[in-house]
Symmetry: none
Subunit: 216 residues, 2 copies
């Protein structure tokens, strides 16, 4: 998890509390730019809105453009308009200072649970993926996946029954801007071969749109 908060005591308290929960935290005291944040490969970003040299909203915009990262805003600005601005940017939660440490924890846990990143294993139907542990299985049988296949499968499982375009897969799973759809096709193909050794097709192609995992 990434935490951007300029007030030293607040940041330290939050960091400590989250670490006690077993959540890995990378703290920043100021707007570090999106690259530094993404380098930490976080599950979630908690952003202060008012930073010495920048704006948490702007940072959120940049993060969202690069990757679909859950975001919780943390700020003293408490008018309804401020909050709406936050949600407009795709915030997952918005907490007003002063806040109870416990409440922040609870909200962070709620978001992580929802995004399926708390207990590391996520499942859909008879497919189980644990990205952290690097394990995946179907109907009980373990799957021998390469790293990219694992990330791809984890992403597909996390997104319920939505259609994911190849472009989306490339940006979210690979971090590319480049756009060679065949890369996605090749990996989907490999993934299918391994998945379908233990059951029927679960990765359906939607011509012209992308791929869809069988909804539950």
């Amino acid at each position: 998890m990434v935490l951007v908060e300029d007030e030293e005591p607040v940041r330290q308290a939050v960091e400590r509390a989250l670490r006690r929960e077993g959540i890995t935290v990378t703290g920043f005291a100021d707007y570090p730019g999106p690259d530094l944040i993404l380098a930490a490969a976080p599950d979630l970003a908690v952003l202060d809105v008012l930073l010495p040299s920048g704006d948490g909203f702007e940072l959120a915009r940049e993060l969202r453009a690069a990757r679909d990262l859950p975001i919780v805003f943390l700020t003293a600005r408490d008018t309804v308009e401020d909050r709406l601005d936050g949600f407009e940017l795709g915030a997952d939660d918005y907490l007003v200072k002063p806040f109870a440490l416990e409440e922040l924890l609870a909200r962070v846990r709620a978001v992580l649970r929802r995004t399926g990143r708390l207990g590391t294993a996520i499942e859909a139907g008879d497919v189980v993926v644990d990205e952290q542990a690097g394990l995946a299985s179907r109907a009980g049988s373990p799957l021998e996946l390469t790293p990219t296949e694992l990330r791809l499968l984890a992403y597909l499982v996390r997104q319920r029954g939505l259609v994911l375009s190849k472009h989306q897969l490339l940006t979210q799973v690979w971090g590319y801007d480049a756009y060679d759809p065949n890369v996605a096709e090749v990996h989907i193909s490999a993934l299918r071969r391994k998945l379908e050794a233990h059951g029927p097709r679960v990765l359906h192609t939607v011509r012209g749109l992308g791929y869809r995992r069988d909804p539950l």
Copy 2:
């Protein structure tokens, strides 16, 4: 979506606002028991905590036991302990009254987005089309449509009961300026064949003018 809220004016305001957003709402004025709620097959439950004959927390516990339903609490109890109790039960969000309608909307949207259930589907009669997901169904049975058929159907469903000229269809669905009415005819024909496999005709031809979908 299900909304349980005993204060009549609040409930009506919220219902109206959500409906305006295109979200289907089933409202209850009192603790209806989990079965009644689940019968509505909701994507999300917004629960008041203090109800005339019961406790929203208890209801949430029962709902959670039955199904993994996202839950947003809505309450006048605003101590941190109350909120922590809510999150403890697996709440996805917790909003303190009095609240701004807009903020509730934003938070509901945020949860739905996160859970991937922000409905993009539109319906007319027994026909449901989700252009984003590339899915369409009639009377529960899925329809196997080609991309153009899907776009065409989505357009027809969106225009409630109006007469659409072929020219209009071609420009709106195809983006053509060209005007070969037979193109539209061919696709309407294919669409009819697939639709009428599961029910009576809903796409009527209005000779000389165009086509009309059966109003609701």
